[in-house]
Subunit: 109 residues, 2 copies
DNA sequence: GCCAATCATCGATAATTTACGATGCATTAT
DNA sequence: ATAATGCATCGTAAATTATCGATGATTGGC
């Protein structure tokens, strides 16, 4: 994960509509949701949401698959994992003590 | 961690200057760095960087401490940890299999 | 073939963010 | 006391982002 990559993921998630859409898609793994379902959930116009979705796709957080005339969207967990590893690496380099609280909270899952 | 909180942290990190400043501060834990040092590292004007720093502080990612006429900045690792837990929880609810790759990569630290 | 449905793209506009120099406010040094 | 340092804030201009309706392209059903 290069810095530019991390920045585009952070930017993509740094908007209420997009963050919520991504979280919704995670909760619907692995079936995914159609764009229309996501539009409805967002409460925004179709065109506005479409641009938001494009941001998520461009950042690699969402993978689109054409199914008939529907477009099925799926969350790409690997992209999120990549971001978290990127962020964690800063504090892990030679200073595991800083990351221990993080690991402690995550291993509960 | 509430959604608004996560959003402000994501927004704060979603800028090259701020992400780099935060990473620099993490690497300088626990001594911290003066604002002047950060300004110099950023290559931006003092006033511009000051507003960036304010964003980080407002998001809780950076803690400022007045020391004489210098302002010592420190990274708040807990804020980062909070964000990561927030993001991880979406995929961990009843589906540990999605988060296992993440944990596998993080435990190497 | 034709109509309806699904979704991306195209302007246009409003809102937000970014950037800078100038200024102001403390605090330290002389 | 005065000057200088360190940093925040103000005003402003430029760039980016967000939002929408309208339009276009593709697909499925009739």
């Amino acid at each position: 994960m290069i810095t530019d990559n991390a920045l585009s993921i952070l930017s993509a998630l740094a908007h209420p509509t997009r963050l919520e859409a991504f979280r919704l898609l995670v909760r619907h793994e692995p079936e995914g949701l159609s764009t229309g379902d996501l539009v409805e959930a967002s409460g925004l116009s179709q065109s506005t949401f479409s641009t938001h979705l494009a941001v998520l796709v461009k950042a690699g957080l969402v993978l689109a698959e054409k199914r008939g005339r529907h477009q099925i969207q799926r969350a790409n967990i690997d992209a999120l994992t990549g971001l978290m590893v990127f962020l964690a690496k800063d504090c892990c380099q030679g200073r595991a003590e800083l990351c221990e609280p993080l690991l402690a909270e995550l291993t509960c899952c």
